[in-house]
C-alpha cells in the first residue's frame, strides 16, 4: 500500500487522532544516486584520513594524542549530526508523515556530508579504542575485562549522542560486541545469546513505547544489533570461537567467572533453554495480540519446546526462529530475511557437524523433515478458527 492510499484508509477507519489529512510524502531521491554519493563520501574520507595519517603518524604514536584526536573527531561529528537531526525533526513536525525519509532527508540535504561525518566519527572511535588497547600494549592475553567495559561505554555514549542512522547502528553493534567479549572474558560467553535474545524480544515487542518516548531510532538500532548478533553469534558458540580468536578465553576465570563456567559445564543446555523461553514468551505475547485460543497457545508452546530440545546442540536455530517471529511481528523485512538465511545456515551446520556417515545424515535429515511436516499438520489442526 502506498502512502497516499494509507492516509485515506486511516482517515476512513477513523484511526487518526488529530483532524485533517496528513500531508503528502516528501519526494524521494533514487537509491542509486544516494548510494553513489555515499560511496564517494566513504572513499573521500578514506583518502583524507590516509593523508592525515601519513602527515601525523609520528604524533599518533602517543596514546594520549591518539585518544584526544579521536575524542575531538567524535565530538565534532556528533555536533554536526545533532544539528542535522534537529533540522530533520523540525521538518518532520511540519510534514508528519515524512519521517521515514529522515535518513534520506539526510539525504536530500546532503547524504555526502552525513556519510563523510560518519566515516570521520568512526575513525575517531577507532582512535579511542586503539588508545584504550594501547594501555595494555596490544597484548590481548593481558587485557582485563575493564578494557572491554571501557570500549562498551564509549560505544554506548556515541550510540546515544550521535543520531546519524548508520553511525548509530554501528555503535550499537560495537557496544553489544564489546559486551559479548566481556562476557567471554569472565567465562560467561554461552550466556551471551540468551541475554541478546531477551534484549531483542524486549525491545521489539515494546517498540511502540519507545516511539512514544521519542527514542525510537536509538532503540531500533540497538534492537537490530541485538537480533543481528543473535543470528551470527551461535556460530562459534560451543567453541568460544570469537573470544578464543582474541586470546582471552582463559582470563579472569575466578570469582563470578569461575562460578559461571562451572554452572555451564554442569548444565550445557541452559543457554538454549533460556533462548527457547524467550521464544515462548515472545510467541505468547504475539498470540495474545491476536486473541489466540488456549489450545493454539498450548500447541505453540509444545512445538517450541520440541524444536528447542531437538536443536540443543545448535542454539542458532531457536535464536533465528525468535528473530524471525520478532521481525514478522514488527514488519522488519530485512531482519526477517537475515533470520531465514541464518536458520538455513545453522540447520546445515548442525547436520554437517554430525559425526556419522552421509547415509545416516541423510536419514536424520529426512526424519527431521518429517517431524517439521508433522508440526505443520498439528498447527493446522490447532489453528484458531
Amino acid at each position: 500500500m502506498n502512502v497516499e492510499q494509507f492516509n485515506q484508509t486511516l482517515a476512513h477507519e477513523g484511526l487518526l487522532v488529530a483532524g485533517g489529512a496528513p500531508p503528502l510524502p516528501a519526494k524521494r531521491i533514487p537509491w542509486h544516486v544516494v548510494a553513489l554519493a555515499g560511496f564517494g563520501a566513504w572513499l573521500a574520507a578514506i583518502f583524507v584520513l590516509m593523508a592525515l595519517g601519513v602527515g601525523a603518524l609520528p604524533l599518533l604514536e602517543s596514546r594520549i594524542v591518539r585518544g584526544a584526536a579521536g575524542l575531538v573527531a567524535c565530538v565534532v561529528c556528533a555536533g554536526f549530526a545533532r544539528r542535522r537531526d534537529a533540522v530533520d525533526r523540525a521538518t518532520e513536525h511540519r510534514q508528519v508523515f515524512g519521517i521515514a525519509e529522515t535518513a534520506s532527508s539526510a539525504s536530500s540535504g546532503g547524504v555526502f556530508g552525513a556519510q563523510f561525518q560518519t566515516a570521520m566519527s568512526l575513525t575517531g572511535f577507532g582512535l579511542i579504542v586503539s588508545a584504550i588497547l594501547l594501555r595494555s600494549e596490544w597484548s590481548m592475553p593481558h587485557s582485563s575485562s575493564l578494557v572491554y567495559a571501557e570500549i562498551m561505554a564509549v560505544a554506548i555514549v556515541l550510540w546515544w549522542f550521535n543520531p546519524q542512522a548508520a553511525h548509530r547502528q554501528l555503535m550499537a553493534w560495537a557496544a553489544l560486541a564489546a559486551l559479548v567479549v566481556l562476557l567471554g572474558v569472565v567465562g560467561g560467553l554461552p550466556l551471551a545469546p540468551p541475554i541478546l535474545a531477551a534484549g531483542a524480544a524486549l525491545i521489539w515487542l515494546t517498540q511502540s513505547r519507545w516511539s512514544a518516548f521519542g527514542a525510537r531510532h536509538a532503540i531500533d538500532a540497538l534492537g537490530t544489533a541485538a537480533a543481528g548478533l543473535l543470528i551470527l553469534l551461535p556460530v562459534g558458540f560451543n567453541g568460544f570461537g570469537v573470544v578464543e580468536a582474541l586470546g582471552v578465553s582463559a582470563l579472569e576465570r575466578h570469582g563470578v567467572g569461575a562460578s559461571l563456567a562451572g554452572l555451564l559445564a554442569v548444565v550445557p543446555w541452559l543457554p538454549v533453554s533460556l533462548i527457547g523461553l524467550s521464544l515462548i514468551a515472545a510467541s505468547l505475547a504475539i498470540a495474545a495480540r491476536h486473541q489466540a485460543g488456549v489450545a493454539f497457545k498450548a500447541g505453540l508452546c509444545v512445538a517450541i519446546v520440541c524444536v528447542t530440545v531437538a536443536s540443543w546442540r545448535a542454539p542458532g536455530i531457536v535464536a533465528c526462529l525468535l528473530v524471525w517471529a520478532l521481525a514478522t511481528a514488527t514488519g522488519r523485512g530485512l531482519l526477517r530475511a537475515g533470520a531465514l538465511l541464518g536458520l538455513c545456515f545453522h540447520l546445515f551446520h548442525l547436520y554437517y557437524d554430525l559425526q556419522s556417515s552421509l547415509l545416516a545424515k541423510g536419514g536424520v535429515l529426512l526424519a527431521s523433515g518429517a517431524v517439521v511436516l508433522l508440526i505443520r499438520v498439528s498447527l493446522q489442526w490447532a489453528k484458531p478458527r
Partner: protein, 403 residues
C-alpha cells in the same frame, strides 16, 4: 476491512507532461512498481481506470487518483513501511491501541490469518529443505558406486521429472515458467557432471558459454522476464570469465578484436537488442536487463581506459579511452534526452569519477608528497560526489515533477 492495493498512483501533472502509455509503463517499472500493476495499467482501456490485483489475488478495478486525463500521469508514491506508522505514533497522530490495526492496514505486519499463513509457509519451506538435503546426502553417499550410467541416469531423470512437471503446469502459468527457470539453472550442473566424468578439459567460460547457448531455446519458450535475466547473467558471466581465462586483457579473438573489445562489442549489441526488444516483447520489458548489460559494458571500458592510462601492455588498449568516451557520450544523449534513466546516468557518472581518479593518479604519480597527492584525490572525489549527487538528484526530481 479496506483492500490492500498494489497500484500506480497518479498525480496532476499538467498538459506539458503528456507521455505515451508505453513510456509510462516503463517509468512505472523503473520505479519498482509491481509487475501485475504495470501490466494492468498497460492493458487498461482507460488509463484513469484500470484493473489491479490485491496481494491475496483478488481482482479489483481501481480509480486513478487525481489524474487529469489519458496519458498525463506518472509519479509513483512510495510504499508505507512500519517506520512510517511508528512515526505517526511518535507525533501523536495515532493512539497507542490503534498501532497494531494501523500496521495491519499498511500491510507491514500480518493479521491473525496472515500469521498462520506465514508459519505454514515457514514450516513447509523448512520441511522441503530438509527432505531435499536428506535425499542429496543419500545420493552423495551412493555416488561413487553409481557408475557413469547411473550418475547420468539419475541427473537426467531429475531433469525429465522437472520437464514433466513443467508440461503438467503449462508454460502459461507462472509456476510452469518458474520450473523452467529451475531447469535452466540445472543445465549447468549437468554439463559440469559431463565435464567431470569425461574430463573434457573445458575452461569455466566454455561451460558458461555452452550453458547459455543450450538455454536459449528454453528461454525463448518461457517468454518470461526473470528467465531472460537469468540467461543474461549466464552470458555476462561467460564473457567476463573469458577475459580472465584468456590471458586477461591482451588476447586477440576473432576479427582482430582483443578480449576487452569483444566483450564491449557483444554487450553493446546486447544493449541495443534489449532496448529494441523491451518496447516490443513483454518478456524483455523492465530495466534490469539493460542496466546489467550497461554495467558490464561500462565496467569493461572503464577498466580498459584505466589500463591505457597506466600504459599496461594489452592488445588495442590505446583505443579504449576513445571508445569509452564515445559510449559515454552516446549513452548520455540517449538516457538523458531520449529515454530518461537516472540509473544509467549514475553509472556513467561513476565511470567518469573512476577514470578521473585514475588519470589524476597517473599525472600526479611524480609528486614527492604522498599526503598532498591523497588530499588532491580526496578533493576531486568530494567535488565529483557532490556535483554528481546534485545533478542526478535534480534530474530525478525533475523527472518526478514532469512525470
Amino acid at each position: 476491512m479496506a483492500s490492500v492495493w498494489t497500484s500506480i498512483t497518479f498525480r496532476n501533472t499538467g498538459p506539458m507532461c503528456r507521455r505515451s502509455r508505453r513510456d509510462l509503463v516503463i517509468d512505472a517499472q523503473q520505479r519498482g512498481t509491481r509487475a501485475t500493476s504495470v501490466r494492468a495499467f498497460a492493458e487498461a482501456p482507460d488509463p484513469r481506470r484500470y484493473t489491479a490485483w490485491t496481494p491475496t489475488g483478488e481482482k479489483r478495478v481501481a480509480e486513478a487518483t487525481d489524474g487529469t486525463g489519458p496519458g498525463t500521469t506518472g509519479a509513483i508514491a512510495r510504499t508505507v513501511r512500519s517506520d512510517d506508522v511508528l512515526a505517526l505514533l511518535e507525533h501523536g497522530r495515532l493512539a497507542h491501541p490503534q498501532l497494531e490495526r494501523a500496521m495491519q492496514l499498511a500491510g507491514c505486519v500480518p493479521t491473525r490469518a496472515g500469521w498462520i499463513r506465514q508459519l505454514d509457509r515457514l514450516l513447509a519451506g523448512l520441511a522441503m529443505l530438509l527432505i531435499v538435503a536428506g535425499v542429496a546426502c543419500i545420493v552423495a553417499y551412493n555416488w561413487a558406486g553409481l557408475g557413469r550410467w547411473g550418475r547420468f541416469g539419475l541427473a537426467q531423470a531429475g531433469m525429465l521429472a522437472l520437464l514433466v512437471a513443467i508440461a503438467w503446469r503449462g508454460l502459461a502459468s507462472v509456476g510452469g515458467r518458474r520450473l523452467l527457470m529451475v531447469a535452466i539453472a540445472l543445465l549447468g550442473p549437468l554439463l559440469a557432471l559431463f565435464g567431470q566424468t569425461y574430463q573434457t578439459g573445458a575452461e569455466t567460460h566454455d561451460l558458461l558459454r555452452v550453458w547459455a547457448l543450450l538455454a536459449i531455446p528454453w528461454v525463448l519458450a518461457s517468454g518470461y522476464a526473470p528467465a531472460w535475466l537469468l540467461w543474461l547473467v549466464l552470458a555476462e558471466a561467460a564473457m567476463l570469465t573469458m577475459i580472465f581465462d584468456l590471458d586477461r586483457w591482451s588476447s586477440v579473438l576473432f576479427a582482430g578484436l582483443s578480449t576487452w573489445a569483444t566483450v564491449a562489442a557483444l554487450n553493446l549489441a546486447a544493449l541495443l537488442f534489449w532496448e529494441w526488444g523491451a518496447r516490443r516483447f513483454e518478456s524483455l520489458a523492465g530495466r534490469s536487463g539493460q542496466r546489467l548489460i550497461a554495467t558490464v559494458l561500462v565496467g569493461t571500458l572503464t577498466v580498459a581506459t584505466c589500463l591505457a592510462f597506466f600504459s599496461v601492455p594489452a592488445e588495442g588498449i590505446g583505443v579504449a579511452p576513445w571508445v569509452w568516451l564515445v559510449v559515454l557520450g552516446v549513452g548520455y544523449y540517449v538516457y538523458r534526452f531520449h529515454r530518461l534513466d537516472v540509473a544509467m546516468l549514475s553509472l556513467g557518472w561513476l565511470s567518469m569519477t573512476i577514470v578521473l581518479l585514475a588519470g589524476m593518479g597517473r599525472m600526479l604519480n611524480s609528486l614527492n608528497s604522498l599526503a598532498f597527492l591523497l588530499l588532491l584525490i580526496a578533493a576531486a572525489l568530494i567535488a565529483s560526489s557532490v556535483l554528481g549527487r546534485q545533478w542526478l538528484g535534480r534530474i530525478a526530481s525533475g523527472s518526478r515533477e514532469a512525470g
